[in-house]
């Protein structure tokens, strides 16, 4: 880990244990981990995400005790959990809302990493492991959304597994292999349940690597310069356990608000209809946290190209550490990059908005014209808007960030974290 261990076993029993399995030492060193003293609340999302993962695993294990993973039983068993199982309404709502909260927290965590340059050397692997976690989270969320076996569950699963059918030559066989049949059916539901139960534990294992890596290289901080002396750091406990604890409490207020008062606000009404393979809902939309990628998928009129772009939108994150050529980590000292970053965030929201709407609807109305005696609005369509946002999304990573490293004139970096704090710039 980071620096020599400071743990001294006090009792005969703990000395005995320390010689054989230094597990208390590991925990003590973790708690005493020297963290930069200028971390702000954006750095609390690691703790918030840990809490989210624990909530999802705990509530999920309980739900699995009552859920029936068959096409005949799934829909009814979820309704039974909500209505008849003691506190089932609470645990189901906690798990469903929890998924949204998990993604909300992970997006803030990722944008924080993008802004403060937390993906740059020596933290490339921390970032890449994070991207792997995010990717498995997306898979887990998708598998889980299929389980209630409502209309959106079924048709979402049909559309997503259809992506694999677009792969040349082997696509159709691959799709049948994934589904266990000619279409989404009972074998699909049962394997999705099995994998949905498995993946969170894979996430937990990779979170272990993610945390191990960040403890090895040390945390980044809002000014992005490395700690130079002990004065620049604080012990993780009690300073950041308290700060993270407060952030978790505030986050739980938002969580609880949705869980108790708006449990269905983040879902979709169509999922209260039982899955029907003969009727497609008029407007298929994924959960809110996939909307930007869904918009990228639909921005292209070609099936395979759309999928490749969507996959590429996540894939490009993996190579980001080598695309950003600037030596300065934090965007606090990068006046030009900061503007491009803010536009990037806005574009992500625009993509989300486009993903939620029909491609041919009017996004930005310019005026009205008469067509066949009817007044019809005209202006920029959602598909056009999503194309602009998609182009910017990719342009931000390439060529904007690679070029800025060469042309941008960055602000002067402070000498140390402590000095920056005294000058009021940290």
């Amino acid at each position: 880990m980071h620096g020599p261990s400071t743990y001294e076993p006090k009792y005969a029993a703990s000395r005995w244990l320390d010689k054989r399995l230094p597990i208390i030492r590991m925990g003590a060193d973790f708690m005493a981990f020297p963290s930069p003293r200028n971390l702000n609340y954006w750095y609390a999302f690691g703790a918030i995400l840990t809490m989210c993962l624990i909530v999802q695993i705990l509530s999920g294990v309980i739900l699995a005790m009552h859920y029936v993973p068959t096409v005949d039983g799934a829909f009814d068993s979820v309704q039974r959990i909500k209505r008849d199982v003691p506190y089932g309404w609470l645990i189901q709502s906690m798990h469903a809302t929890g998924a949204s909260m998990f993604f909300l927290a992970v997006y803030i965590h990722m944008f924080r990493g993008l802004f403060y340059g937390s993906y740059k050397a020596p933290r490339e692997l921390v970032w890449i492991l994070g991207c792997v976690i995010y990717l498995i989270m997306m898979a887990t969320g998708f598998l889980g959304y299929t389980l209630p076996w409502g209309q959106m569950s079924f048709w979402g699963a049909t559309v997503i597994t259809g992506f694999f059918g677009a792969i040349p030559v082997v696509g159709e066989s691959l799709q049948q292999w994934l589904l266990g049949g000619y279409s989404v059916g009972n074998p699909t539901l049962q394997r999705f349940f099995s994998l949905h139960y498995l993946l969170p534990f894979v996430i937990a294992a990779i979170v272990g690597l993610h945390v191990w890596a960040i403890h090895h290289v040390g945390q980044n901080n809002p000014i992005g310069i490395t700690e130079k002396s002990k004065k620049d750091t604080l012990s993780f406990h009690p300073y950041y356990t308290m700060k993270d604890g407060f952030a978790v409490a505030v986050f739980l207020l938002i969580f609880a608000f949705f869980m108790f008062y708006l449990p269905d606000a983040l879902g979709h009404a169509d999922n209260y209809q039982r899955a029907n393979p003969l009727v497609t809902p008029p407007h298929i939309v994924p959960e809110w946290y996939y909307l930007p990628f869904y918009a990228i998928l639909r921005a292209v009129p070609d099936k395979l190209a759309g999928i490749l772009l969507m996959v590429g939108a996540i894939g490009i994150l993996f190579v980001l550490p080598w695309l950003d050529t600037s030596k300065v980590r934090s965007m606090r000292f990068r006046p030009v990059a900061r503007v491009f970053f803010i536009i990037f965030v806005i574009m992500c929201f625009i993509l989300g908005w486009c993903g939620a709407r029909a491609p041919d609807d009017i996004a930005i109305k310019i005026g009205e014209k008469m067509v066949d005696g009817e007044s019809v609005a005209y202006g920029m369509k959602f598909v056009t808007l999503s194309r602009i946002a998609t182009i910017y999304y990719f342009a931000y990573f390439f060529p904007i960030l690679p070029l800025l490293g060469f042309v941008e004139k960055t602000k002067e970096l402070p000498e140390s974290i402590t000095k920056a704090i005294h000058e009021g710039t940290a």
Binding site: T158, T161, P187, G306
Partner: protein, 189 residues
């Protein structure tokens, strides 16, 4: 003395020093291990494919005499809907007229049918898998820019022959494997 012995060993007693012999053992061991690993992995991978009962439930019979002109029925086949559309004369004419149009997936209307027991083509009864070739949604009938089918998911337009004309879908609506059992009954699958 021992030096001489080692040299002799390398030159004459190739039993333990011949590199090609050693490499062969490594490669043979590795190959056997790879075959073993593969033969254990294959059942674990293969079990995910369609099971025998799923594959067995693969064919259905449909009575087409009950489908009136201008009407369409949906039958469930392999978990997917099959459209049986009794086309009007105007729809047939429109479909045939568009054979020469600029098609995304070129196919003549007449090629989208199987022969009846008499060996003729019955262009009135169009049988298709009712699954959009884009991402598998179910298109809505008598809709879209070509009065054929329209997929609400991502806006693909199909004509009265079920051919893709506009939108992101790459292919025409699929014609399943089917045959005429009699003049009024077809067997799909």
């Amino acid at each position: 003395m021992s030096d001489t012995h080692t040299q002799e060993n390398t030159h004459e007693d190739g039993h333990s020093e011949d590199p090609s012999r050693r490499d062969f053992i490594y490669i043979a061991t590795g190959a056997a291990a790879a075959v073993g690993a593969g033969s254990v992995a294959w059942p674990l991978v293969s079990q995910m494919g369609a099971a025998a009962d799923t594959r067995a439930a693969g064919s259905i019979e449909i009575d087409i005499s009950k489908v009136a002109e201008g009407q369409q029925i949906k039958a469930l086949w392999r978990g997917k809907p099959v459209f049986v559309r009794h086309r009007t004369a105007a729809e047939i004419a429109a479909a045939e007229a568009d054979d020469a149009a600029d098609l995304i997936d070129p196919q003549a209307d007449a090629d989208r049918f199987v022969p009846t027991p008499e060996g003729n083509i019955n262009p009135a009864i169009l049988v298709m898998v009712g699954v959009c070739t884009h991402f598998g949604c179910i298109p809505v009938g008598e809709a879209g820019d070509f009065n054929g089918w329209y997929c609400p998911c991502h806006g693909s337009h199909y004509d009265t022959s079920g051919r893709i004309r506009k939108g992101p879908a790459p292919k025409n609506l699929e014609i399943p494997t089917y045959s005429y059992v009699s003049d009024s009954v077809i067997k799909v699958g």
